[in-house]
Symmetry: C2
Subunit: 513 residues, 2 copies
């Protein structure tokens, strides 16, 4: 065989392998059967709990929304309307958060894609909230609606990802109507669970109204959309997020209450303090939701990490971030609340070994902490400013590895295979046994990112590194997109709704009207 | 300030940071205070245990050494001398392994560098057993004695690394005398713990004799050197390793008994089977050591991973490897034995994101499993064929992160800092508080590999990726080398010994004479 023929065959095999393992992955629920890692002992957890109660009772917290203030007042909290400030007694707080469910279902348009949030269920959600998109062909650029659509298509086809949404904000669409454009894409490009909104009453209500066109009015008992509420740490909920979370709660949809704390900036510099503050902030939001709609599903979110004190920028994938992830999960378990963390956080500017190390410093703690919603589990780059298509592919492989890892293996006579050991005997090899032959195609995790080549072959075929392989794979993934069915009448109703609302929302101040 | 000045200042700061955080790291013992991750339940662990007992009783295991066979016979095992094969009853096996200590000290030339092996002590050891050295300047090349010296110097200066040794074999030195050359380097370039040998009786005895010149004759009660015994899986100990382990045991030095199993090649393809076989092989070796010298320290090693069934090459950093790491540690704990794993294993050919992901898939399980000897914890590349100087630096940072992570943080009034939260109030920031100012220099893990730059600054300053930064750092590390003191009389005695033995070993068949 000539060298060029050999190269062709080799690259065919490589291509086949990439397609096989990414596309053959089956969508499924995932559980973490391992006991969660408990970083703190019960006494230390009590210290954090007590400190957070003291924060809510003595320092208090801002709620920049008239309805929220009056809800707190009616519930029995001490309210300063002028300064829009609330002090919450621990007995009141605990009676409220006790109403939140510890587990719920999050319904997808396709029932096969409905998720469990809580217990030891672990769901992998994609990156979101970015400004830029980066890929090897086009470099780093502001995201557009075309990128949103491409991202959604790739996420829909990635069966290890449980939800479709996020990515970079479409800079070519004016902010007031982005939710309508992305909402339309969400319902047409995927039948997995999708994102809603928590950006004020108007936008959030629009996403609820769109959900009604798809799921029926009234909406099902299980939530169908959610919003992420990033508390304006320290100790402040603003108009936009309060309008969003109250609107979602009233409609039985869920909020993920996630204080955004970089220790040293939005909290005192010590992680003990940052976590006490995170706990106070998260529980205050969850309690408010329970005032609005007792029993409404909500999720305790942790996003605490440290600042890089040399530059003032966030530092993701740090030991401090790992502490916060584990302990956030412990706190959520203490209150019987589902927990949200983040899996592919990193600070690096490109997809190098440090980016991957940072990502694994986010992902391992997130998975081992029993994180129910593993947001940003793929594609995050550059402190979250950028979606990287190539990193998304690389992270997808590590997500797929966690499935294989957590699903474990059987121990029985068949898998112990002592007869094969006796047959092959000392010093032999097991490549050719009937046991190996019957199992070799599916026994092990099948990677799509690893080259599997020897150094010599790898060098001779171009010394390709991970981003270049990933570039080829995301293009194949995008090209393989298959649109799920949607009732044409529903599709039309969604388009009519979006078109009408686009006109109505011109000139509206979205967060205070 | 001109642009070029600004650039200079920025790179000065970067340089300073790199130096500070790598060099200021203090050598210390490390403990993992977290409960170890238990991947299997007790009943499943029993299944593996019972299968491995059945292997030793019914299938048996080869011992290719006459002394080993006669030792087994005297101990009461069934021995087939012609086929050099032994069957070991579970009662005999368990009575022998019960004699091995669960914890011991490994003495360094400098008592401040003496280590604890066992319990929840975690020690980071460097890569070893490689053929090639790779760095950005000189590319991939066979290792030389100069590389061994450079590697030892850098490892000596890396305070997060507990032991100095390993690296690539010096190809410019004939195999029969490499142990003399590297032994001399070990005692002169570092005062940390060092490697000995387990390559047959002659070489191993030489390393023991050298140790006597340094530590005195008789040697101290605590071991001062060790050897790694990679069982010739499946189910065979060869002459070379048996000579080595018997010689070490008799001298009170320790062996790390590590079956080298790639499931699908050296064992049946299923991980259940591979682990049962690993357990049988490791325990048989440890039991033999206890026959030679009851109570001699030894370590249970795990190195099991899968083969890449598409290429037949090893696959490191896989979910299967993670299972094996966790479960290997569980088995070692079951028998009260110290455990050895491996931290920076990967299959990638260059230091890209996949190399880092694979490495973290080795490192996280190894640390969280309570691995007492974390061998190969830095610098491993390309299935272990190559030492990468740049990867060594990148891995050193992740090792340093694990120290910070495992050492945790205090929770008290001072660190909870509720007074600061009250002072700053809602919506403020904590950059300038007295609490932050007093702590910011040392509160967080200080990285040396992360750039900390914004995308714009990073791009304008050359878009440097991790390997290039690491290249600069290892050169600084090497240049910073300071030789520890050694009594000139001891140094002279070592040189005399090595010179004499070099002559004597000409033409000797090392493993059977």
């Amino acid at each position: 065989m000539s060298n060029s023929k050999r190269r062709t065959r080799r690259s065919d095999l490589k291509a086949k392998r990439e397609e096989l393992s990414l596309h053959s992955f089956k969508f499924r629920e995932l559980r973490n059967p391992l006991p969660p890692t408990e970083f703190l002992g019960p006494a230390q957890l009590d210290q954090l709990h007590n400190a957070s109660m003291q924060i809510l009772e003595e320092i208090g917290i801002d709620f920049f929304d008239a309805e929220a203030l009056s809800l707190w007042e009616q519930a029995g909290a001490k309210v300063d309307h002028k300064n829009r400030h609330v002090w919450i007694d621990r007995a009141l707080l605990q009676s409220l958060i006790a109403k939140a469910p510890s587990e719920f279902h999050w319904r997808a348009r396709n029932p096969a894609h409905t998720l469990t949030i809580g217990g030891n269920a672990i769901n992998f959600l994609p990156m979101g909230g970015m400004v830029y998109v980066n890929d090897l062909d086009r470099g780093r650029r502001p995201g557009t609606l075309k990128d949103t659509a491409d991202t959604f298509k790739m996420l829909h086809m990635s069966n290890m990802i449980h939800m479709v949404g996020g990515g970079a904000a479409p800079s070519d669409i004016r902010p007031t109507i982005r939710h309508l454009k992305t909402g339309l894409l969400s319902y047409t490009l995927t039948d997995k669970t999708i994102y809603g909104s928590s950006h004020g009453r108007i936008i959030t209500q629009d996403t609820i109204d769109m959900a009604k066109l798809v799921f029926g009015d009234p909406l099902p008992d299980d939530p169908v959309i959610y919003g992420v509420v990033n508390v304006n740490s320290p100790l402040r909920y603003d108009e936009r997020m309060l309008g969003g979370m109250i609107t979602l709660a009233r409609a039985g949809q869920f909020s993920v209450i996630t204080p955004f704390i970089l220790a040293g900036a939005m909290s005192p510099i010590t992680i003990a303090s940052a976590l006490a503050q995170q706990n106070a902030e998260a529980l205050a939001g969850i309690a408010l939701i329970q005032i609005v709609n007792p029993g409404a599903p909500c999720v305790y979110g942790g996003f605490t990490t440290n600042i890089d004190m040399k530059t003032g920028s966030p530092a993701f994938g740090t030991p401090e971030g790992a502490w916060a992830t584990y302990i956030g999960a412990q706190l959520a378990r203490r209150y019987g609340l589902p927990y949200r963390g983040s899996g592919s956080l990193c600070s690096a500017n490109s997809i190098d070994a440090v980016a991957a190390n940072e990502t694994m410093w986010s992902m391992w703690p997130t998975v081992m902490a029993h994180t129910n919603m593993n947001n940003h589990s793929v594609g995050w780059l550059e402190n979250g400013l950028t979606v990287s298509y190539e990193k998304m592919i690389i992270d997808l492989e590590s997500v797929a590895q966690f499935y294989h890892f957590l699903e474990g293996f059987e121990i029985n006579d068949e898998t112990l295979a002592l007869d094969m050991m006796a047959e092959v005997g000392p010093g032999g090899h097991h490549f050719g046994t009937s046991h190996t032959q019957a199992r070799y195609e599916n026994e092990f995790f099948t990677p799509f990112m690893r080259s599997g080549q020897s150094f010599g072959n790898w060098e001779n075929s171009g010394a390709e590194e991970a981003p270049k392989r990933a570039n080829r794979i995301w293009k194949k993934l995008l090209a393989s997109y298959q649109q799920p069915d949607l009732d044409p009448a529903i599709h039309e109703a969604l388009i009519d709704f979006a078109t009408r609302r686009e006109k109505e929302l011109e000139g509206v101040d979205l967060y205070t009207d």
